[in-house]
């Protein structure tokens, strides 16, 4: 029997079989299962592949670079917005180049199933001037990992593998191939290229720009970029990554009427594009995410009426592609389908019954008449659901850690009673620096760390700050009298309201640790966390 795997698991197994020595990641939908698969893998354990969670995506990518510096292969994994956090190291590691193969698997979330935007990571690849691979299906994702590490070592550049939700979270049966061994330790021959003082950086940057030629050559000849020209020149379709599936779903039985160029490796293969462009009367671009290739093909003033896609309105400009929207763009007749019956009501996600965040929200809400509306700044995690009904407690949700810094900015603006609500793992990821700023500035804000001992939204992964939160806050300089702990339970409601009220009234930084483990944690996990906290105290 074939192995039944998610697209993400195909990436993970592909990386193991390509001979990685470590995976570095911070959980984030839709990328999480890549790392989890390696953590669960028996063979990865036997091979001593590092797979512990990182504190955020920047530290993850830096550690991956550290491993690569020593000559070993490393995989870094994150969701699209995670790459924003790691972009600092990304932009500079392309200049330094890498040593052991380094692949960054990034999962984009078009349609925002579990994200706050739908950015297209291919732009980061272009921005950093590195090769991008965009698998169309799970099997290709598996095969590509080996290829990606080879390409990385050949070009001495990080390689970005772009996944999207539907590929990451779709299962299929695939065969695995032989595994190759890991690299040994081999420090770089010349370390100057990793020391980016301006004199070295200028040399390295020139080298990077010159690598474009080699990168392009690799794309032109890549087995993942396939061109098939048809005798019928009426329509040529250029489909990137998963887009090709929706195209083939519609034309597989009538392929002779269409020319198709599948792009799964970038830089964009110019010669192949020129061939299909010259051959066909009209070109349709099918790409998931932003109209990146389409923008490059269309001239600036949009006079080239030959190119159709998202910019021309033939495909929806937002949200993910699907077989129906692509059929329409190709011009295939579709039968009318019945509508969703009116009786069906929306069922948005909500906090689980008995969730500690919900009890915390009730405490905050009770104080709203005193503190005023619109002053609770939220953050990324399950508690972000507090921004929608029925809770409607938090007013903002922007990026990891922004609750604390936005509350500080509000306090600077002269708003009283600004409150930040942040989870334990989000605090470790990006909250600590903001807290330091608030402490140094003596900002009158109340930071509530809603600590459920896990990265709950993505499936209860280990939260690195477990058992350390109080000491971190004290170490940052929050006054010991204003680091309070509450247990968010109905029976403690009155007491919790009083504590929060007192701390809101305090004209300095206070931190309230609202601590109760996520109700979805297994008994075993709860026990492990309890022991960990005990050992730390």
């Amino acid at each position: 029997m074939k192995n039944l795997v998610l697209g993400n698991e195909a990436v993970a197994q592909g990386a193991i079989d390509a001979g990685i020595s470590g995976v570095y990641a911070y959980p984030g939908t839709p990328s999480t299962e890549i790392t989890e698969y390696i953590q669960r893998s028996k063979i990865a354990k036997e091979l001593g592949i590092h797979s512990k969670w990182s504190v955020n995506e920047k530290t993850a990518l830096e550690a991956a670079l550290g491993m690569s510096y020593c000559g070993k292969r490393a995989l870094a994994v994150m969701k699209h917005v995670g790459l924003n956090v790691a972009s600092d190291v990304l932009m500079n590691m392309s200049v330094s180049g890498i040593n052991g193969g380094l692949v960054i698997a990034v999962a984009d979330d078009p349609s925002m199933h579990s994200s706050q935007n739908e950015q297209d990571s291919r732009f980061y690849g272009r921005f950093a001037r590195i090769p991008i691979l965009e698998p169309a299906n799970q099997e290709e994702a598996y095969t590509m990992m080996h290829y990606a590490f080879d390409l990385s070592e050949e070009l001495q550049l990080p390689v970005l593998v772009r996944m999207v939700t539907r590929l990451s979270h779709s299962r299929t049966g695939i065969d695995f191939r032989e595994r190759r061994s890991q690299n040994g330790i081999q420090l770089p021959v010349n370390t100057d290229r990793f020391a980016l003082v301006p004199s070295n950086a200028r040399k390295q940057y020139k080298k990077l720009v010159r690598k474009k030629k080699k990168m392009l050559k690799s794309s032109e000849h890549s087995r993942f970029n396939q061109l098939r020209l048809s005798d019928d020149p009426s329509l040529g379709i250029i489909a990137c990554g998963i887009g090709v599936n929706y195209v083939m779903e519609n034309i597989s039985e009538n392929q002779e009427f269409y020319s198709v160029l599948k792009i799964s490796q970038y830089p964009i293969p110019r010669k192949k594009i020129k061939e299909i462009y010259d051959h066909c009367d009209e070109i349709l671009l099918v790409e998931e995410g932003f109209p990146m290739v389409e923008e490059l093909l269309k001239d600036f003033f949009d006079r080239d009426k030959k190119v159709r896609g998202k910019l021309s309105g033939d495909l929806p400009p937002v949200g993910e592609l699907d077989p129906n929207s692509v059929a329409k763009a190709i011009g295939i007749y579709q039968e009318r389908v019945p509508e969703v019956p009116e009786i069906v009501m929306p069922r948005p996600p909500q906090l689980c019954e008995g969730c500690g965040h919900a009890d915390l929200f009730r405490v905050i809400k009770e104080l709203t008449p005193e503190t005023g509306e619109k002053k609770v700044f939220g953050d990324i995690g399950c508690y972000a659901l507090g921004a929608i009904t029925p809770d409607h407690t938090i007013s903002t949700l922007i990026d990891m850690g922004a609750s604390i810094t936005m509350a500080k900015g509000a306090a600077d603006a002269g708003v009283e009673n600004a409150i930040a609500v942040i989870g334990d793992s989000t605090f470790a990821h990006s909250g600590m620096t903001g807290l330091l700023e608030a402490v140094v500035d003596e900002s009158p804000i109340t930071v509530i760390i809603s600590d459920n001992s896990a990265v709950a939204m993505t499936g209860a992964q280990e939260s690195l700050a477990v058992g350390r939160l109080k000491n971190i806050c004290l170490g940052i300089g929050v006054h010991p009298d204003h680091v309070k702990t509450i247990v968010p339970l109905k029976k403690n409601h009155a007491e919790n309201v009083k504590i929060l009220r007192d701390e809101i009234q305090y004209r300095g930084v206070s931190v309230i640790l609202s601590q109760r483990p996520c109700i979805r944690l297994s008994k075993d996990l709860k026990e492990t966390i309890k022991n960990k906290i005990a050992s730390l105290n």
């Binding site: 029997m1 074939k2 039944l4 998610l6 939908t29 839709p30 999480t32 299962e33 199933h113 579990s114 539907r166 590929l167 979270h169 779709s170 299962r171 299929t172 049966g173 998963i242 090709v244 599936n245 929706y246 083939m248 779903e249 597989s252 699907d322 077989p323 129906n324 059929a327 579709q334 039968e335 389908v337 019945p338 509508e339 969703v340 019956p341 009786i343 069906v344 009501m345 929306p346 069922r347 948005p348 996600p349 909500q350 906090l351 689980c352 399950c382 659901l385 029925p390 939204m457 993505t458 499936g459």
Partner: protein, 197 residues
Amino acid sequence: MKSNIILSGVGGQGILTIAAVIDIAALLQNLQIKQSEVHGMSQRGGAVQSHVRISDERIYSDLIPMGKADLILSVEPMELLRYIPYLNKKGWIVTDSSTFENIVDYPDKYDLFKQIKTYNNHIVVNAKQEAKKLGNSKVANMILLGAAASFLPLKEDNLIEAIRVFFKGKSQKIAKTNIEAFKVGQALAKDFLEFVF
């Protein structure tokens, strides 16, 4: 042969177990399979669905096109209706009758089942109640799978073997109860069809 199945329910109701058993059975039968699922925020008590595609030829899209589903199998009756635009004209709907009411404006049950009955090819079973009779409310899933089994391009033996494979890590008793549940589902569907048609 191509078969498109939509599984629907509410996050946490365990539609992924049904999906996994179908996947395994299809692989045992040497068929191609693609099965998309929902992870992340929507899993928190929101509407979830899984697209399962089985074929003896290559499958391209991970998503089923509108109007092309042969079967909607739902563990919750209102969630079933959310995916009606996917159902093809000859398609079947199979659902549990037990509602999951975690929203304030959940529709009236009478109206809900009246709507379900407007689709000719439907089977409604009280899987939750039948599961309790078997002493394990978690096996409602396998009752529903049993009820829908005759609409799948999969052999009964392979489905039963797939249940065994899926519960391999658990006790023998759990696998046995799940297989029993599957058979109860088959019988319920048969009764339903004889009674209604």
